[in-house]
C-alpha cells in the first residue's frame, strides 16, 4: 500500500477541464507554437508528410471512436474513406458544388453508409463483425473499380483544387492550414464527445454490453451512433485525401488502407485521441524513414533500393507485433509513463499501477 500521489482537483471546473494543469497548458501552447511555426521552416517534403499525418490523424480518430472506444472491429475503413473521397470529388467535379459543401456532404453520406454497414452489429459480435466488414470492404472495392459510369473505374479522377478567399489551396503550404484545422477540430470534438453521455455509453458498450443495457444504455442505438460518428470523420479524411492530391485513385482505399489505419490505432493506443495522432504520425512516417535509410546506404549497398518495399512491409508488421506483445496500450501509454516518471520524480510511483491494483 502506498499513498496515492499525483494531481487532486479541488474545484469542479478543474475536474471537468480538458487541460486543467499549468504544465498541460504550457505543453499545449508549445505544441500550438510548433504547429503554427512548422510550415514556415519546413521543406516541401516535410510539409507533404505533415499533411499526410494530419489527414491520417482525422481518419485514425474516426476509426478509434469505433474500434477503441466502442469495441466494434471494422476492416472497412478503406471503403468508408473511398465513399468520402469519391462523394466529395465527384460532387465538386460534376456538379460544381463548392468544395466546403461537398466535403460536408461527403461526411454525411459516409456517416449514412457507416450506419448501414453497422446494422449487422446488431446481431454480430467480435470476429464475425470483423469478417462482415471485410466483406463490405471487398464489395465496395469491387464497386469502386467496376461502376465505371460513376467512379471512372480504375482510371484516376482529377478533382478541381479547393479555393479559399480566392487562394488556391492545393499547394502543400496552403493545404496545411486546412489539414491542421480539420485534425485539431476532430481531436477536440472527439475529446469532448468522450466526456459526454454518448461517449460514456460507447465505452460502456465496449466494456460489457449486457451491463450497459441493464443501466439503461440502448446498445443497438449506441453502436449505430458509433458507426455514424466514426464514419463521419473517416469520410472527412477521405474527402481530404481527394482535395490534398487533387486526384482520386481506387488504390488508396483498399483493404491495406483499412489495415494501415488499424495499425495506427493499435500502435498509438486504442481508445486514446493522443494515441490516434501518435500512431498516425509513426505509421505515416515509418515508410518515409525507411526510404531515407535506404537512400543513405545506397552507395554501400546498391541492391538495397530493390528491397525497400519489402523492408517497409516487414517492418510495418514487426512494429505491430512488437507493440501488441510489449505495449498493447501503445505509444499513448509510453508517453504517459514518461510523463509520470518526471511528474513524481524522484519517487517511483506510477499512476497506472494504482489503477491496476
Amino acid at each position: 500500500m502506498s499513498l496515492d500521489c499525483g494531481v487532486f482537483h479541488t474545484r469542479y471546473e478543474a475536474d471537468m477541464g480538458l487541460r486543467p494543469r499549468p504544465l498541460q497548458r504550457l505543453r499545449l501552447g508549445m505544441l500550438a507554437l510548433f504547429v503554427l511555426g512548422f510550415p514556415f521552416v519546413a521543406s516541401a517534403y516535410w510539409l507533404d508528410l505533415a499533411n499526410q499525418v494530419a489527414i491520417a490523424t482525422v481518419g485514425a480518430i474516426g476509426l478509434n471512436i469505433l474500434v477503441g472506444y466502442t469495441g466494434q472491429i471494422s476492416l472497412g475503413q478503406g471503403a468508408f474513406m473511398a465513399i468520402g473521397a469519391y462523394t466529395a470529388g465527384l460532387l465538386t467535379l460534376n456538379f460544381g458544388v463548392p468544395w466546403g459543401a461537398s466535403v460536408f456532404a461527403a461526411c454525411l453520406l459516409t456517416a449514412a453508409a457507416g450506419t448501414f454497414f453497422g446494422l449487422p452489429s446488431l446481431r454480430l459480435k467480435g470476429l464475425y463483425l470483423a469478417i462482415a466488414t471485410l466483406a463490405a470492404q471487398e464489395i465496395v472495392e469491387w464497386g469502386m473499380t467496376n461502376w465505371t459510369a460513376v467512379t471512372g473505374g480504375t482510371e484516376a479522377i482529377v478533382v478541381p483544387a479547393p479555393v479559399l478567399f480566392g487562394v488556391r489551396m492545393n499547394t502543400n503550404f496552403n493545404f496545411y492550414w486546412i489539414a491542421v484545422l480539420a485534425a485539431a477540430g476532430t481531436a477536440l470534438f472527439a475529446a469532448n464527445l468522450m466526456r459526454s453521455r454518448i461517449g460514456r455509453a460507447f465505452e460502456a458498450v465496449r466494456d460489457q454490453d449486457i451491463a450497459a443495457s441493464v443501466i439503461g444504455v440502448d446498445v443497438f442505438r449506441t453502436k449505430l451512433l458509433a458507426f455514424a460518428t466514426s464514419s463521419f470523420f473517416v469520410g472527412l479524411a477521405g474527402a481530404m485525401i481527394a482535395f490534398h492530391r487533387n486526384i482520386i485513385t481506387w488504390e488508396r482505399f483498399t483493404l491495406s488502407t483499412s489495415i494501415v489505419f488499424l495499425a495506427m490505432i493499435i500502435v498509438g493506443g486504442l481508445g486514446s485521441i493522443r494515441g490516434s495522432f501518435l500512431g498516425a504520425a509513426l505509421i505515416t512516417l515509418l515508410p518515409a524513414m525507411i526510404t531515407n535509410v535506404g537512400r543513405a546506404i545506397q552507395d554501400t549497398a546498391p541492391q538495397a533500393a530493390s528491397l525497400l518495399p519489402y523492408a517497409q512491409q516487414a517492418v510495418f508488421g514487426i512494429v505491430i507485433i512488437l507493440f501488441l506483445i510489449f505495449e498493447p496500450r501503445g505509444l499513448s501509454k509510453l508517453w504517459e509513463n514518461a510523463k509520470d516518471y518526471f511528474h513524481v520524480w524522484p519517487f517511483a510511483y506510477r499512476r497506472g499501477e494504482r489503477r491496476a491494483a
Binding site: 446481431r123 512494429v319 505491430i320
Partner: protein, 290 residues
Amino acid sequence: MDIFLQLTVSGLSTGMIYALAAAGFVVIYKASDVINFAQGDLLLLGTYLIFFGVAQVGLPWSLGVGLTLLLAVAVALAIERLVLRPLVGEPIISMIMVTIGLSSVLRGVTGAIWGPSPRSFDSFLPAGDIVLGPATLSMARVLSIPIALAVLAGLGLFFRYARDGIAMRAIADDQQAALSMGISIPRVFGVAWGLAAVSAALGGIMLAGIVGVSPNVASIGLRVFPVVILGGLDSIAGAILGGAIIGLLEVYVGFYVGHGLNLVVPYVVLVLMLMVRPYGLFGKEVIERV
C-alpha cells in the same frame, strides 16, 4: 457441356486449394480461437519453399516436398511460440492485428528473397491433358482434387482418432476442463499451428504445380473467409464443402456472368450467410449473438 465440365474441374481444383487453406484456418481457430489472417501467406511460403527446394537447389520432388513441409512447420512453430503465446487471452482485435502483422512480415520476407516476378518450373503433377468425350481437362487440375481430398480426410481422421486430435477437440470444448484432465495446452496449440502449416504448405505445393509461383498466391488468404463462414468456422467437412462451393461459384460466375463479378461473389455469399446462418453449414450453433 464440355465447357461446363472443364469449368467444374477447374472450379473444384481451385476450391480444394481453398479448402486446404481453410482447413488450416479451422484447425487454428478450433484449438486456440485465433483468427489467422496469415493463412494465405503460409500458402505463399509453401509455394516459394517448394520452388526453392526443387528449382533452385535441385532436389528431387519427394525430398523437396519433405523439405517444404519441414520448414513450414518450423516457421509455424516459431510463430506460435514467439508471437501468439504471449498474447493468449488478449482481446480479439489484438489477435486479428497480430496475424495481420505476421502476414505483412511473411510477405515482406518472401518478397525480399524471391522478388516480385512470377516464377515457373516443371511441375511434379503430370503436364498432359485428359480427353473425356468433348472436354479436355488439365491432368494437373484433375489430380489435385483427390490429393487434396486425401489430405483433408487425413486431417478429419486425425481429429477423430489421434490423441492430439481428441485433445484439440477437448480444448475447443472447454479449456479449463481439458487442462484439469492433464492436456498440455501449449503442446496442442503447437500441433495446431504445425498442422495448419502442413495443410497450407501442401496447398501451396499444388498451387505451384498448377499455376506457378507468384506473390499473388497470398490473396487466397482472404478467400478463406467466405469458405469458412460458409462451411462453419470449426468444421473440416465444412471447409471442404465451402471450398468446393466457392471455387465452383467463382468459375461459373466468371464465365457465365463476367464483369469481374467472380471476385466479389464470394463476399456476397459471406454476407448472406452471416445474415441467415452465421455458424455455417456444419458449424456448432454457439455463435455469440448480441
